[in-house]
Amino acid sequence: MLDISREAFAAWAASVGVKGDAEHMERLRGEVQGMMGRLAHLDDIDVSEVAPEDAGLRHEGGVA
């Protein structure tokens, strides 16, 4: 799991407008750490064959 220090997380949270009591913030820190660990895998995917403008809401391969 990605390690985000309490201090770093507090600063990050403040920058996105999140606040709460210590218990809430600590549980949120754990949740964000876990999520960021999972999302790190996205960087390993070579998406060069999909242009950003082709990544919107549309069906791929369906009849619609």
């Binding site: 990050w12 996105v16 407008g17 999140v18 709460g20 809430h24 549980r27 949120l28 949740e31 964000v32 876990g34 999520m35 960021m36 999972r38 999302l39 790190a40 895998h41 996205l42 960087d43 995917i45 998406v47 064959e49 999909v50 242009a51 950003p52 082709d54 990544a55 919107g56 809401l57 069906h59 791929e60 391969g61 369906g62 009849v63 619609a64």
Partner: protein, 471 residues
Amino acid sequence: MTSSQDLTSLTVAELGDRMKTKQVSPVEVAEAFIARADALEPTLGVFVTRSTEQALAAAKQAEAEIGAGDYKGPMHGIPVGVKDIYDTAGVRTTSGSAVYADYVPDRDSAAVARLREAGAYLIGKTGTVEFAFDPTGRNAHYGMPKNPWGLDRMPGGSSAGSGAGTAAGLFPISLGTDTGGSIRIPSALCGLTAIKPTFGLTSRFGVTPLSWSFDTVGPMARSAEDAAIALNVLAGYDPEDPGSAHSEKVDYTHGLSDGVRGLRIGVPKEYVWDVIDPEMQAAFWKAMSDLEELGAVVEEISLPELAWVPAIAAAMTTVEAATIYGDLARTRGDELDPSVLRRVQSGFFISGETYVQAARARVLFTRRMNAAFGSVDLIATPTVAMPAPPHDAERMLVGGVDTAVREALLRDTRIFNVSRLPAVAMPTGFSSDGLPLSMQIAAPAFHDALALRAAHAYQQATDWHRARVVI
């Protein structure tokens, strides 16, 4: 003469046939389900709001219509449990939230309106996770419905009450929604058959959103035939849903009995088996063997891109949920379920660049899945990694792997949310603890009928879907 207990154990097809031929009246049907709900609701906690008087009035109307020769089809006179994120005219829609505890819509959601046009009626609003944002079924405001197959087990979510109530016979069919598995997870944990239709096939108008590029509306039933009957009513273009597709009109019951002879079923050899309960795995391969005996050809396929699924789904659904509920989290966060608040707030930490990377990866993943259908007709996996966990479990060992329950529940269902493909979940047996086991069969986009046909073929050869819980 059919007893009340017998009526509540019947499928929609069976009830419809009895009402059409006047062996039983719609009012008798309504009274039987209402009586069972009266008896079991204190134990199970399925409903947020019951609509008994409305249900009886609708049943009387159905009785008069059928008596006058105006039979509308197999949903006529059928009571439906509706997840409490569907707007229902005159009946409150809480979305599982204290914030909307008193919200009473003045108009039906498209799905409920279509069901009413088909002669079905609302018997009650069923429990859901707040804003449908969790696969366990937990709700800090209204409680978590109990799984009728194990009262100390979670029912799965987010369509928790729809799953528990259909399984317990409080209604024969229900509506759920599926963003990461919220139709199929409770169906798997409660022993139901259900379809997450192709994204865009069913209208989401009037349904509380969670993630606009994933949210899908569908039925939770006791057989593939019932799911097909309901999909006939629910499917179709709706200009009021921006994600709605101009799909071809299909009769999902037509060809249901064409069998699986010659159909090629692909089973991914990667990812799915990294976290899997041994009994779930054994039941899945037994089901594949059963399908082979029916003439299907089962083969392993390679889909290493399945490993991308958790990251794509987490990035996109969390950002979309934060977009929808961000203001609420900032202004009334103390009124939300703390775990849902954290999940919404998590989306604030994901960058725009990450969201677009996930969206691009999703397109790539969908292309890979569509390419897989060049060599097979269907793709099958277990629906969930394990049978219903204890109601308070956060982590557990699944096949020897220590895993978060939430992630274990979502890992296989999300495959077909990310790819927007139709997938039918169906029971494949019971664990040694007496808990339902389940598999899902997916088809190419807008070939929902093919997935239902395979499920129906399996159910003609097995009895797992006929098991009824004794409480």
